[in-house]
């Protein structure tokens, strides 16, 4: 049995490699907000209140492009609706927590933290304080995201644009799923999701980000029937 502190540090340790992509992306995100001419305090408020990388950039871009706030808010909701899937997966491991703790821990569920903690949960089901791993990974992401977006807001885009560091985001997610390429059923599901995301890319409100996982999960269900 690992102690709470051990699980917390393990979560922080497991998520730390992803900072390689999260920090530059946060800086870019903060810098874009200021470059588009928005109030720096409001740009930062997004990191605290929304706390969702890609959706923050879309929010800024839509508003600066003249979209109504209704469209911008709806897009953020749709982009982030994928968290419903993460929550459904995590709920198995967080069941025993009190309602208040569930409400608090929900705030720090983000893509990379979900991915790494879910991997750890699957291999260590019997640990009593499992959720400390998620707290460790989630809080590390939160702190780094706040610092990164703030530095982007204050210092501007000091990361040279030519480096194309936005490319680190797909790479970070490649690192997350690459080991599942060993399993044919997962490969089929990934390819389905990937191609649907390109096919539906122009769907309104950036809804490709939830349409393609749904299509891919249907394919997963079909594959399970066949097995």
């Amino acid at each position: 049995m690992l102690s709470k502190k051990q699980l917390l540090t393990r979560g922080m340790f497991d998520i730390s490699p992803h900072m390689l992509s999260v920090i530059p992306f946060g800086i870019i995100c903060g810098a874009i907000g200021v470059e588009l001419g928005f109030n720096p305090y409001l740009v930062y408020a997004m990191s605290f209140i929304i706390f969702g990388g890609a959706s923050q950039i879309v929010f800024l871009q839509l508003l600066s492009g003249g979209a109504s706030s209704l469209v911008a808010v709806a897009s953020v909701g749709i982009i982030n609706s994928r968290h419903l899937l993460y929550g459904a997966v995590l709920s198995e491991y967080l069941e025993k927590l009190s309602f208040i703790k569930k409400l608090l821990i929900s705030y720090i569920v983000v893509d990379q933290g979900f991915a790494e903690s879910n991997k750890f949960f699957k291999e260590n089901r019997n640990e009593e304080y499992l959720h400390y791993h998620l707290i460790g990974s989630g809080c590390t992401l939160w702190v780094c995201w706040q610092i990164a977006t703030l530095s982007g807001i204050i210092l501007g885009s000091f990361v040279p644009e030519e480096l194309g560091l936005k490319f680190a985001i797909p790479l970070t997610f490649i690192a997350i799923v690459v080991q599942d390429l060993k399993k044919l059923d997962h490969v089929i599901v990934m390819i389905t999701c990937g191609f649907s995301s390109l096919l539906f890319f122009d769907a309104p409100f950036k809804s490709y980000i939830i349409i393609s996982p749904i299509v891919a999960l249907f394919v997963a269900a079909l594959l399970m029937r066949l097995k």
């Binding site: 706390f51 808010v73 459904a88 929900s106 991915a115 970070t172 690459v178 393609s212």
Partner: protein, 105 residues
């Protein structure tokens, strides 16, 4: 952009995070659904990976010989064998930089 719109976007985002964790009990999901949920990472992350590689900042498809494609292939190979996140990201970035700064410049 107003604080109100940010707060609404934040509430909506928080609801997406909280609903399944706090409001739905695990028993409400059937066994089949639980089994399908095993595929969530493989069913969600390619929707971030593919557009991040194949679609540029202007929302159009990239060329077939775009450096990002080669960077991604190198990252997949290195990631598969090294099982190391930092090595995967760096391999992808460095091969991408090698192509844009040295080969294609």
């Amino acid at each position: 952009m107003t604080l109100t719109s940010i707060i609404f976007a934040g509430i909506l985002t928080y609801l997406t995070r909280m609903t399944m964790i706090a409001l739905i009990s695990r028993d409400m999901l059937g066994d089949n659904i639980k089994a399908v949920l095993e595929y969530v990472p493989s069913a969600v992350f390619p929707a971030i990976i593919f557009p991040g590689i194949f679609i540029n900042d202007f929302g159009t498809f990239i060329d077939i010989n775009d450096p990002k494609i080669y960077g991604a292939i190198v990252a997949i190979i290195v990631g598969y064998f090294s099982k190391n996140i930092i090595a995967t990201i760096l391999a992808g970035l460095i091969s991408y930089w090698f192509l844009i700064f040295i080969v294609f410049s």
